[in-house]
Amino acid sequence: MKRFIQFVIDFLRSGFTGGVLFWAWMLFLSFFIMLWGYGEFVQIRDGMIVTGLNDQVSWGFYLANFVFMVGVAAAAVTVVFPAYVYKHRELHRIVVLGEMLAIAAVIMCLLFVTAHMGRPDRLWHIFPVIGIFNWPHAMLTWDVLVLTGYLLLNIVGGFYFLYKKYSDAELNKAFYLSVVYIAIVWALSIHTVTAFLINTMPARPMWFHSMMPIKFITTAFAAGPSLIIIVFLLVRRFTPLKIADEAFHVLSQIVVWCLGIALFLTLSEIVTELYPSTEHSLGLQYLMFGHHGLNSLVPFFWTAMVLMIGGFILLLIPKVRKNLMALPFICIAVFIGIYIEKGVGLMLPGVTPTPIGEFAEYTPSSIEFMVVGGIWAIGFFILTVLIKGASGVLLSEVRYTEKASPSIRGEQTRPATI
């Protein structure tokens, strides 16, 4: 037990140690976290009226970000899966970083849902035993189950591994591997259930199709590894942890194929909906072409398309894909493209027009931007600390010693700058 407490202290100490650049980054994030605090305060005090949401568009920016982040969380599996199932050596070394990313992403998801709730003070109503958990009827309860389960699996799996490494002990393979394999399947479930959350409502025809889960998963496995590539490149740049080029090649291949399938599915949806052009396709038409001058989503949709298609074509070229200077920029483009396509580009046309056919434009309010930006900052804050701590352990800089005082000892002499 003493050793575990020491581990937590050492891990956090390593996570919060850094140079000027590190502290500047954390300060930068803290500024946005403060805005989040202010935004949440105003929203809880005055109600959701401070958002841009209304009777017509009652789901908006918060849930859009939620859906997207669930995908990013699930995408940790793109590191874990090749590492364990295909015994990919390079990814195997850094697999725990993927788990750290999943932890940060799930925490963001939970914060987005809380921000979306009209009565966050009554969150306990949904907890089993003290509240009522409408399971198995309500899809939202399934989502709560799979998300918290996934969070726990990643915390247990990731920190068990780190703790054993920290104390220089042997992993209990049977335990650890079962956690890993369950987490792999579980990752698919979180995104599938999130798709079911919105595609099981015939009142919203744009979402009401069975392609939603697979489309969610493919876009997630394109956007997620894109982010992971960027994070890993940063890790490689700013910490002594070595990540082989090969790891990036695997990830960029996953991005390109999943992106290709996602684009194919998008195209299928467009043809299926627009060819007969029933009333049920009005949401998609509104997204793509606007409706009688209500076209605030149109530029976003086409930007997303350009970014995704452009990214796909570039990544198809092996020379470009393997160029680690160009890769992060393509990854950013893909990430932003999917963020738009699967965020507001999915949420808003789903609720527009309303069931009685009314079109209403929605723009997030400044409070919504503060809260969303703040949650992203919280995510990056947690991710930075977790990655720094984890890479410290991986590098054996952070190790258990019998002394009461923590010891930072490592083979590397260069101090970490981030």
Binding site: G47, I49, G118, I126, I132, A138, L140, P353, T354
Partner: protein, 343 residues
């Protein structure tokens, strides 16, 4: 003013305590003023005296009879204080052998919206500039018409997109088949008919299915009700409702004390709080006492009928037996108990 205070009255006729109190409140006022400048000013007056017990009460359906009584008394005290009148909160359960149904004659409806107004007054909806909630929406449906001049050169209304219903020539921001923003000087208008919509009290309500905390449920008399104190405001039900019947309290409801209807029901028209969903309850506070709903009562043309579906002699059963009846979105298998009919 008590005797003691009279003794320490200052030269200006104000007691020291008064002065301190005033000074204190000035300080508090200026402090909160600063806070208000920093944020949007909107004191949460209605939530100020909500007791801890109310925060931590159980879901209404799971309460024992005593707990229900307690909750109801607690609310009666709070509302009476807040609105300055004797407020009664009813907790009448569903009656045995009753299944409420509703029938609306679209041939008769003249679109006067008296039902909307009566509903707002009866059911204590939020009103005013900031947040206006109406449980009934009257759609103005354009009568089928054809005018050669309205066609564009191709004979197809391209500028306005796909031809849908009678509304393809209308500009942006309105609904497809009908719209609820009409404001004529006189109703009924020549070229329109009207289709009021409200909660359909479905037998298989999608909203109930998706609610993660079972705060909304179907009572045995067929009315879908909401425990406002249990709602977490996730708005899943709003997404799932195919009839756009549910409304959310985006901010603190604006309900002037003098306009507040003190005859309330726990599951019906008692004042709501911000962040919860509400909708038509067939005036549960009235119908469970054998009265008509407010909309039925006020309708000047008698277009609205309601009654017990289990009673063959009820108005609604007679309509079902003798008129041409249809329901909205029957394809979704929600089995609404709200029927539309024609002669």
């Amino acid at each position: 003013m008590s005797k003691e205070e009279t003794k320490v009255k200052g030269p200006n006729g104000t007691s020291r305590r008064d002065f301190l109190r005033k000074a204190g409140s000035y300080t508090a006022a200026s402090l909160s003023g600063t806070a208000m400048l920093l944020s949007d000013p909107k004191p949460a007056k209605a939530t100020a005296n909500v007791s801890w017990a109310e925060h931590f009460q159980k879901n209404y359906r799971l309460m024992t009879d005593e707990e229900k009584k307690e909750a109801v008394t607690r609310l009666e005290h709070r509302y009476s204080e807040e609105f300055g009148k004797k407020v009664e909160v009813d907790d009448a359960p569903a009656m045995d052998g009753v299944l409420f149904g509703y029938a609306l004659n679209i041939q008769k409806c003249i679109g006067c919206r008296r039902c909307v107004k009566a509903c707002v007054a009866e059911n204590n909806q939020s009103r005013g500039e900031n947040q206006q909630i109406e449980w009934i929406r009257v759609l103005r449906m354009e009568k089928g018409k054809f005018s050669a001049e309205d066609r564009d050169r191709q004979g197809y209304p391209e500028d306005y997109g796909v031809q849908v219903g009678g509304n393809a020539y209308k500009p942006a921001g309105v609904v497809l088949e009908g719209q609820h923003y009409y404001e004529p000087d006189l109703v009924p208008e020549k070229d329109a008919f009207y289709l009021p919509m409200q909660c359909m009290q479905c037998e298989k309500p999608p909203c109930v299915k998706v609610c993660p905390v079972r705060t909304t449920y179907r009572d045995p008399d067929g009315i879908v009700v909401i425990d406002y104190n249990w709602c977490i405001g996730c708005r899943m039900c709003i997404g799932a409702c195919p009839y756009w019947a549910r409304r959310f309290n985006w901010g603190e409801p604006d309900l002037p004390a003098q306009e507040m209807n003190p005859d309330t029901h726990y599951l019906g028209n008692r004042p709501r709080m911000k962040g919860v969903v509400e909708k038509c309850t067939f005036c549960v506070q009235r119908t469970r006492k054998g009265r008509w709903t407010a909309c039925v009562e006020v309708c000047p043309v008698g277009a609205r009928k309601m009654g017990n579906l289990l009673d063959p002699e009820s108005d609604v059963r007679k309509v079902l037996a003798s008129k041409k009846v249809f329901r909205l979105r029957a394809d979704l298998n929600t089995y609404p108990k709200f029927f539309y009919f024609m002669e």
